[in-house]
Symmetry: C2
């Protein structure tokens, strides 16, 4: 049984599919909130983790104000910037989760675990129309704002990934399988992932 | 049962996988040579089709020399350039093949059939190391030339696709599933494709 990491476009149903996979295989499911929660326990302020997703660059003063006492320092002993501290705390949490089979959604987990052979790296995407429909009907977002939200979320995910990895979010090189959830439906998509996680 | 189109990186084993899928499902398998052969019967010179892959732009004089008598003309009655004639002849052949379930490898078949709902659009890729190994061991290419050949082939496929479609070769938007054949092996990759072609 493999560790399963799931990267996903906003509105593609990646989270739902991840939960289905975990339930089918009887293994834990960790999404970004759980990774954040665990990382927080390492000493970083809640606000720092919550906001890590929203803002890519922030001022040095803000870093000082929110506290950089977590302990990640560079070779000269200077604390690393807050974003990097958050990334490293999440990374440690992911490495701990990955001691046994589980599903991890988001948080560059595919990159964090890239050296491991027992990882199935999945990316879920869908056409724009299906994603807009899901954002409105399942996530309850305002239809007028859905399109903007979609573009912003993808951009944010891509930027976050590209800031902390040496690769491109959604580039096929980083994944073992990429599935169009709108073409197959969540159930079938989850089935395929389970099949590969168990038999590979 | 769906029509299955397979786009693939050079050396990823897409052709082998396509043949396995066709055999498992008991449906015909058409690769580029068969599409070319059928298109040729429409009136285009063998050399024109064979060379269509190699050179993207060619001179007007060359077009005249090799013959543009096939009959594709623009709205002013002027024969289209040779590349376009070849593409259109292949397109007609693909549309004919796609009257019943089959596997079609290459030739922008996913684009040609993009309006159809009964098509499973697959893209096969693999890491560079696995592809170089396959190019040498299975295709019998010179190990010293394998890397250059790989880069050239991908570039040619991408250019051909982008010349005749409004999209990008290998971009996830164009496919229902993208599979890393090196991660799963040809057999498992073929199995997944069969599962989706039959049950969707």
């Amino acid at each position: 049984m493999k560790i399963i990491t799931i990267g996903r476009e906003y509105g593609s149903g990646g989270r739902t599919i991840g939960k289905m996979v975990a339930a089918k295989l009887g293994i834990p499911y960790y999404d970004r909130e759980l990774v954040d929660e665990a990382a927080k326990n390492s000493g970083l302020a809640v606000e720092a983790i919550e906001e890590n997703d929203q803002v890519v660059t922030r001022s040095f003063l803000y870093d000082l104000a929110i506290g950089t006492s977590y302990g990640y320092v560079n070779s000269a002993g200077v604390p690393l910037d807050l974003n990097t501290q958050v990334f490293l705390a999440q990374r440690e949490t992911i490495l701990k989760f990955a001691e046994s089979p589980c599903v991890i959604v988001g948080r560059c987990a595919d990159y964090v675990l890239r050296e491991r052979e027992d990882v199935l790296r999945v990316f879920i995407y869908a056409d724009k129309k299906s994603r807009l429909e899901r954002i409105v009907s399942e996530y309850g977002e305002d239809p007028d704002k859905a399109e903007k939200l979609l573009a912003q979320s993808d951009k944010r995910r891509a930027r976050h990934y590209e800031e902390f990895t040496d690769s491109i979010w959604g580039a096929r090189r980083n994944y073992d399988i990429m599935l169009n959830s709108a073409a197959h439906g969540a159930e079938k998509t989850a089935e395929i992932i389970c099949m590969l996680a168990q038999n590979d």
